[in-house]
């Protein structure tokens, strides 16, 4: 499914009025009446169905603050919690999130919960929420990036590791290829000299 905001030609965070107005305009455009007996009726029908679905998703998000399909589904309440976390008030954000538990349905709820724990450094708590957020909204890059970074480091990878590629953190001969290459060069040179003399 495409991003419902994109389907309705809206910016993420659009108000209820904007969503309704956009839906009305598009619905008139693709209305079945316009395409009656047209060879394009089927295509119009498909687009109408997409618009309907997008409208339902966005309205659902607004009403419940949820909407698993709405990757950008951030109503003002979530925006406020996001701001709290950015200001460093992670505990307050967590309290607000727990007041209205939408862990089962909302990617954003899970992501914000994870972010608040992440801010505090409680990574063991943060990881499952990041995972849940990106499984609810697989298309959301922000969720996916946060999740995969933490999983990556959980398996022992470190960003910017100058010793990377060496087994179990112990620097071995990481330039084996180079050694082999040099040996080959050496051999060639030796044979070359032998030939000359």
């Amino acid at each position: 499914m495409r991003d419902p905001y994109e389907v309705l030609h809206l910016q993420p965070g659009a108000t209820e009025e904007e969503i309704k107005a956009a839906y009305k305009a598009l619905a008139q455009k693709y209305s079945a009446e316009n395409y009656a007996a047209s060879p394009l009726a089927e295509e119009a029908d498909r687009q109408m169905a997409e618009i309907n679905e997008a409208f339902d998703t966005l309205m659902g998000t607004l009403r419940t603050g949820a909407g698993a399909g709405a990757s950008g589904g951030r109503d003002s309440r979530y925006a406020k919690i996001r701001r709290l976390i950015n200001e460093g008030k992670a505990d307050e954000a967590l309290r607000k999130l727990q007041e209205q538990d939408e862990s089962a349905v909302s990617g954003e709820w899970n992501f914000l919960c994870a972010s608040a724990y992440y801010y505090k450094g409680w990574l063991g708590q943060a990881l499952p929420y990041f995972e849940k957020a990106s499984s609810l909204c697989p298309d959301n890059r922000e969720y996916a990036a946060a999740c995969s970074r933490l999983k990556n480091s959980a398996s022992g990878n470190m960003a910017g590791n100058p010793y990377a590629g060496t087994p179990q953190g112990v620097a071995g001969c990481s330039c084996c290829d180079m050694c082999t290459a040099l040996m080959c060069v050496d051999l060639c040179c030796g044979f070359g000299r032998g030939g000359c003399c």
């Binding site: 450094g121 409680w122 990574l123 708590q125 022992g156 470190m158 953190g169 112990v170």
Partner: protein
């Protein structure tokens, strides 16, 4: 304290090894100068990292000069002279040791209590001196120790929560290494994650002993078996070390980078790899002594 934040010696260049050893010995001498000869017995490796970070950020290289040492009086070897970083490390070490001893006085068996009590008496004047020099660190350590005791008394079973006081402690300690104010937030977060790694490593190492002696251990409270505990603790440590590295990479170190790189990217992962090993196992598995 812990001994987890050390370099992997096999991978050090000789001059880096000399510098590390010089700073380690320098910390020992600094303790003697500031707090009397008895305090030199408190020496440990973790605080060397504080000295290296603080001087590295301030652009002060180790002030190495050949000196004799009480532990090897016949040969001179390079030992670092006083630096601001060593002063910070010595003060922090004294304060930490004081709180550790006070803690032992309450928890440990009779013999350890006598030893800790004697040590406390010997350190009392040094503690007063250190408090005068670093009142903010003393307040921080005292607050974190109290919080840790509270969590333990409440039987906290959540590793992330139980590690919070250690995280706060190291966060404040590393923040004190800042050469400029804008480095503080980076150092705070760096310390926050290192504190967590250390707490988890420590809890994993004490797991069996705590089980046998029926003492508090967050992983015991969480009700997991040893294998499961090691798996959980390793993942937690890896994540925290990964985050600490992201902070570390932002630090504008002017000195000691090669040494600190080794500690972060080789020494720390090595400690995590050996999670759960007792001190005895570690000694057996190590091919050489740390220094």
């Amino acid at each position: 304290m812990f001994g987890y934040l050390t370099p992997l010696n096999d991978e050090l260049r000789i001059r880096e090894y000399r510098a590390y050893r010089g700073v380690y010995c320098g910390l020992c001498k600094e303790l003697g100068r500031r707090y009397g000869q008895a305090s030199r017995l408190l020496l440990n490796y973790d605080l060397v990292l504080i000295a290296l970070a603080a001087d590295g950020l301030a652009g002060v290289p180790p002030q190495l000069s050949p000196e004799r040492c009480i532990a090897g009086p016949f040969a001179r070897h390079p030992i670092s002279g006083p630096t601001p970083g060593l002063a910070l490390a010595a003060d922090a070490l004294l304060l930490l040791s004081w709180y550790k001893l006070r803690d032992d006085l309450e928890d440990e068996g009779a013999l350890r209590r006598v030893v800790s009590g004697t040590a406390c008496l010997a350190l009392k004047s040094g503690y007063g001196e250190a408090t005068r020099r670093r009142p903010e660190l003393d307040a921080l350590f005292s607050r974190c120790m109290a919080r840790q005791a509270e969590l333990e008394a409440a039987g906290c079973a959540l590793p992330d929560e139980a590690a919070a006081p250690s995280a706060e402690l190291l966060s404040g300690l590393f923040a004190a290494c800042a050469a400029k104010d804008e480095q503080r937030p980076i150092l705070e977060r760096y310390g926050l994650f290192l504190g967590r790694v250390i707490y988890f490593l420590d809890a994993a190492e004490d797991f069996e002993r705590d089980a046998a002696q029926d003492r508090y251990n967050v992983f015991l409270r969480a009700g997991v078996c040893r294998e499961e505990m090691l798996c959980q603790a390793r993942a937690l440590c890896n994540m925290c070390a990964g985050e600490a590295t992201l902070c570390y990479n932002l630090l504008p170190l002017q000195e000691n980078r090669a040494l600190l790189d080794n500690v972060m990217y080789l020494g720390l992962p090595q400690s995590i790899l050996r999670i759960g090993e007792s001190q005895k196992d570690k000694r057996r598995n190590r091919h050489e002594r740390p220094i």
